[in-house]
C-alpha cells in the first residue's frame, strides 16, 4: 500500500503488516499462495485464534505461503473505490486477485456482505460460476459453514469442521491440480469438504424439500472434519503480535475444544463435539512459549467453558507460579458463579479489581432449565456474596430474551436477580457501591441446536420486554443495555436460510450494506428492500419449522444426530434438564459416528 494512502486513513497500523511473528516468503519459492481473509476490521480478526493457528500451520510448509487480508474500513474503501489503491495482502502487498486461494473465515453471519465487498473491491466476480480459471479459488470455513447455503453460490468450496485437519491436504491437492474443476472433483472426497456446485436444492410448490447430488461421487450429507486429538496436532508456539490495540490483545492458547454442558441454545456446544483436551504439560508449554516469544502482558486460556478442563486447577496454579513475577495477567473466559470458579478466579485475578462477567442467560430457574443452563439460584447468590466480601463491586451479567416458553415472569426474574444482588451487596458490605451491568441479547435459534425448529420470538414482544427492563433497572446501581432486534432478526435469517437467501445478500450488498454487525453501519431498510425484491417472507423465515420438514443445513452432518436434537427439544418443553455428559453419556451420536465409540478417552460411553 502506498505511503500517501496510509497518511490519509484512520489507524494506518491496521494496514502495514510487519508485526513480530508475521511471515514473509519469496513468492518465487512457493507453490501455493493463499490469503487468509477475515471479513471484518484488523482489530477484530487479529483476536481470533483460528487465524493464528491456520497461518502458522500453512506457513510451516515450505511450498505454501499464507498471508492475511482484513476488511478495510470505510475511509480506505473509498480510496480503493476511487482506484487510487488496491485491496491487497498485508505481508507482501499482493493485489488480492493475484493470489491462488482466498480463504474466508465465517465467524458470524453479519459479516457476509463484507465477504462480497472484499471480492468486489478486489475485482473478483461474486459468484463462483462467473469466475474464470485464472481467478483465485474462493474457499471458506468456520462455524457458519455449518449452514453454508445462504452464501453457497459465492464460495467454490467450504471446509466444515476442524480446518487444521483439512487445509494442508487441500493445498497439496491444489498444487497438483490439472484444472479448477479437476481439483474440486478430487477435493470433495476429503472429509469435511463441501463443494456447492455438486449439489442443488430441490423445491416442491415453493417449499424446500432437500438436496440433490449433481456429481455422483460427492458425498451426501457432508460429514464435518474432526481432529481426533488436539494434543498430537500442530499448535503454534508463536502468534502474530499486533502493534495496534486489538479486541483481545494477549497471548491465548486453546485448552480444549468442544463442550459437555449441553446448553440448548448454543451452536458451538453442539458442532464442536466431542471434547478434546490438551494436556496440562502442553498447555503450559504453549502458554509460556507464546508469552516469551510475544512479550504480551496477558495470557488467556480459551475454550467454550474453560473451568471444565479436567486439570484446570493445576494449570492455573502452575501458570500463576511461573508468571507472577513478570507482571503478567491471566484470564479465563466463561467463568461461572459457583464456588469452584471463585477459587480459580482468586488465582487468576490477583490484585486486579476490574469488573467480572457472568452469563446466567435467564432470570428464573424454570427458564434456565428449559435452556439447560446449568446454574443454580443458590450458587448465584452465595458466590456473589463471597465476591462482595472480597471487595468486588462491578459485575456484568448477560441474559437472553425471547427464549422458548418465556413469559413475563421470566423477564421479571432478571429484574429480581438484579435487585436481590443489590440488596445482598448492601447487606454484605453496608455500602451502596455496587455497579451492576445487565445486558440482554436475542435468542437466535441456530442450526444444529435443539432449538433449530423454534420460531424467533417476534421483535415487538421482545422489545416490550426490553422496555420493561429499561424502566425496572433505572436505579443508579444498574445499567441496562440490549441488542437491537433488527440485526438479530437478520442474523437469524442468514443463519437459517437456504440458497435463496444468497440473492438477498447480493442485493443488499449492491444497495450499500456492509459491516452489518456494527451498529453504526447497519441499515435495516436496505435489507427490507432486498427481501422484498426477492419475495422473501420474513415472517416465514423467522418462523417455526416442523420436525419432519427438510432443513437447508442438513446437507451437513455435524455428528450430533437429529434424533438427539429432537429429544433435547422435547425435554426443553418439559422443562427437564440434561446434566453435563461427562458423568453420563446422553447419546448425542458423536461417539458412534465419528470417534469410534470413544469420548473423553472412555470406550463406549453409551
Amino acid at each position: 500500500m502506498r505511503d500517501s494512502t496510509l497518511k490519509r486513513v484512520r489507524k494506518p497500523a491496521r494496514y502495514i503488516g510487519g508485526e513480530v511473528g508475521s511471515i514473509v516468503k519469496d513468492r518465487k519459492d512457493v507453490r501455493v499462495h493463499m490469503a487468509f481473509a477475515f471479513p471484518d476490521l484488523y482489530e477484530v480478526g487479529m483476536s481470533h485464534l483460528g487465524l493464528h493457528l491456520l497461518y502458522s500451520l500453512i506457513n510451516s510448509h515450505e511450498a505454501f505461503f499464507c498471508e492475511r487480508v482484513f476488511a478495510p474500513d470505510k475511509d480506505l474503501e473509498e480510496i480503493i473505490r476511487n482506484e487510487e489503491e488496491e485491496l491487497s495482502t498485508l505481508e507482501t502487498s499482493t493485489p488480492l486477485r493475484n493470489v491462488d486461494i482466498i480463504g474466508f473465515t465465517l465467524q458470524y453471519e453479519l459479516s457476509y456482505t463484507n465477504i462480497l465487498n472484499m471480492l468486489d473491491m478486489a475485482g473478483i466476480p461474486l459468484r463462483s460460476q462467473h469466475r474464470t480459471e485464472e481467478m483465485p479459488l474462493i474457499i471458506a470455513g468456520g462455524p457458519c459453514a455449518f449452514n453454508p447455503e445462504p452464501i453457497a453460490p459465492f464460495i467454490d468450496l467450504f471446509v466444515v469442521g476442524d480446518g487444521e485437519e483439512v487445509i494442508v491436504e487441500l493445498l497439496k491437492l491444489y498444487e497438483g491440480r490439472e484444472s479448477k474443476a479437476d481439483f474440486l472433483r478430487k477435493a470433495c472426497q476429503i472429509r469435511g469438504v463441501y463443494v456447492p456446485a455438486f449439489y442443488e436444492e430441490k423445491y416442491e410448490e415453493g417449499e424446500f424439500v432437500g438436496h440433490g447430488v449433481l456429481y455422483d461421487p460427492a458425498p451426501y450429507p457432508v460429514q464435518k472434519a474432526l481432529v481426533k486429538s488436539l494434543e498430537s496436532h500442530h499448535h503454534p508456539l508463536r502468534h502474530i503480535v499486533p502493534f495496534m490495540d486489538v479486541v483481545h490483545d494477549r497471548a491465548f492458547t486453546e485448552i480444549f475444544r468442544g463442550c459437555t454442558q449441553g446448553c440448548r441454545f448454543c451452536q458451538a456446544g453442539m458442532i464442536y463435539r466431542p471434547v478434546r483436551e490438551r494436556s496440562k504439560e502442553q498447555v503450559l508449554e504453549s502458554a509460556l512459549r507464546l508469552l516469551d516469544e510475544g512479550g504480551y502482558e496477558e495470557v488467556a486460556l480459551t475454550s467454550l467453558s474453560s473451568l471444565d478442563h479436567s486439570e484446570i486447577r493445576e494449570i492455573v496454579e502452575e501458570l500463576h507460579e511461573s508468571v507472577k513475577d513478570r507482571k503478567i495477567r491471566m484470564s479465563l473466559p466463561s467463568l461461572r458463579l459457583d464456588s469452584f470458579s471463585l477459587d480459580v478466579l482468586r488465582l487468576v485475578s490477583g490484585a486486579k479489581r476490574s469488573s467480572l462477567t457472568f452469563a446466567p442467560e435467564a432470570g428464573t430457574q424454570r427458564m434456565r432449565d428449559v435452556i439447560n443452563k446449568n446454574v443454580e439460584e443458590d450458587d448465584i447468590f452465595s458466590s456473589a456474596k463471597a465476591l462482595f466480601e472480597e471487595g468486588w463491586n462491578k459485575l456484568k451479567l448477560y441474559f437472553m430474551l425471547g427464549l422458548p416458553t418465556e413469559t413475563f415472569e421470566d423477564v421479571k426474574g432478571i429484574e429480581e436477580t438484579a435487585k436481590r444482588l443489590r440488596a445482598l451487596y448492601r447487606e454484605t458490605t453496608g455500602k451502596d457501591r455496587l455497579q451492576l451491568n445487565i445486558s440482554t441479547s436475542y435468542l437466535i435459534p441456530k442450526p444444529f441446536t435443539p432449538f433449530q425448529w423454534m420460531a424467533m420470538t417476534p421483535r415487538d414482544v421482545v422489545e416490550q420486554r426490553q422496555h420493561y427492563l429499561s424502566k425496572a433497572l433505572r436505579a443508579k446501581q444498574f445499567s441496562y443495555s440490549y441488542h437491537e432486534g433488527t440485526s438479530s432478526n437478520l442474523e437469524a435469517v442468514l443463519a437459517r436460510g437456504s440458497r435463496k437467501i444468497s440473492d438477498v445478500i447480493e442485493t443488499a450488498f449492491r444497495l450499500g450494506a456492509t459491516f452489518d454487525g456494527w451498529n453504526d453501519y447497519f441499515r435495516w431498510e436496505i435489507w427490507l428492500q432486498a427481501f422484498k425484491k426477492w419475495d422473501i417472507d420474513l415472517e416465514k423465515e423467522l418462523g417455526e419449522r416442523s420436525l419432519d420438514e427438510s432443513l437447508p443445513w442438513e446437507i451437513i452432518d455435524p455428528g450430533v444426530t437429529k434424533n438427539y436434537l429432537q429429544r433435547e427439544y422435547f425435554k426443553a418443553l418439559e422443562e427437564e434438564t440434561t446434566p453435563d455428559c461427562r458423568g453420563l453419556c446422553h447419546g448425542c451420536g458423536i461417539n458412534s459416528q465419528r470417534t469410534g465409540g470413544i469420548c473423553f478417552g472412555v470406550q463406549n460411553p453409551l
Binding site: 513480530v20 510475544g294 502482558e297 486486579k352
Partner: protein, 209 residues
C-alpha cells in the same frame, strides 16, 4: 536505574501512533527479558517516558526515551535486542544517574528533513507571512504566522531541512507548516518527512544531556 535510549523509527513503523510505539517497546523489552521497573497500582505499567512523540507518518531518527530498569542490568544488551520489528532500532544507550529535568521539558526545537517536490514550497523563500489557523481547546480560532516558528532553513535540490520550535511554550507541527506554505490541508500526504534531531534551548542535541 534510568536508561536513556536513542532510537530510530521508520519504514512502515512510521505509521505507529505513540501508544502503539510504547507497546512495541514494552513487548520488545519483555521478549528480551529486560528487568523493567513497573508502576504500582492495579495495572502495573513499565516506567517509560519519551522526549517528544513523533506524529503518525513521520520517520524518526531522533527518538529519545528514558526507561527504568532494575539495577545491575547490562544496558549494552539493549543495543542487541533480538526480534525488534523491522523499522525500530536502538541507536545508542546510556545510563543517566538522576533525572533532574524530564526529557520532555528539555525540548526546544526540532530539525526536520522534508523530501518531495520543492517547487511546491517556493513561498518559503519569500518574505511573505505564512498564516495558518489553529483552534484551541475552547474551540477559538487563532491565526498564526508559521514564520514565527521557523528558526533555520537549508535548501537542497529535492529536500529541505527546517528547524522548528517544538517546546512546551511555542511549537508548530510540520503538517501545519506544510499547510501554511501550500494552502493545502492534505499537503503532507505528498511529502516524506524525517525528524532528524531534537534540540534544547542552547541548540544542543538532547543526547548531550
Amino acid at each position: 536505574m534510568v536508561c536513556r535510549i536513542r532510537f530510530r523509527k521508520d519504514g512502515r513503523l512510521k505509521f505507529l501512533s505513540h501508544l502503539e510505539l510504547l507497546k512495541a517497546w514494552d513487548r520488545a523489552f519483555r521478549r528480551e527479558e529486560v528487568p523493567l521497573v513497573f508502576s504500582g497500582g492495579f495495572s502495573p505499567r513499565p516506567l517509560m517516558t519519551f522526549a517528544l512523540p513523533s506524529a503518525v507518518g513521520i520517520c524518526d531518527l531522533a527518538g529519545y526515551m528514558d526507561v527504568q530498569i532494575e539495577d545491575g542490568f547490562d544496558i549494552s544488551r539493549l543495543l542487541r535486542i533480538k526480534g525488534l520489528p523491522d523499522g525500530l532500532e536502538v541507536l545508542d544507550v546510556k545510563e543517566v544517574d538522576e533525572v533532574k529535568v524530564s526529557l520532555m521539558s528539555l525540548v526546544h526545537s526540532v530539525d526536520y528533513v522534508i523530501e518531495g517536490d520543492m517547487s511546491a514550497l517556493e513561498r518559503l523563500k519569500s518574505e511573505q507571512p505564512l498564516p495558518f489557523v489553529r483552534i484551541n481547546k475552547r474551540g477559538r480560532r487563532h491565526e498564526r504566522d508559521a514564520r514565527d516558528y521557523l528558526l533555520r532553513m537549508e535548501w537542497g535540490e529535492h529536500a529541505l531541512r527546517v528547524q522548528l520550535l517544538a517546546g512546551s511554550e511555542q511549537s508548530i507541527r510540520v503538517n501545519e507548516l506544510l499547510e501554511a506554505v501550500t494552502g493545502d490541508r492534505e499537503a503532507h500526504v505528498r511529502f516524506q518527512v524525517t525528524r532528524w534531531e531534537v534540540y534544547d534551548k542552547e541548540g544542543r542535541s538532547l543526547w548531550e544531556h
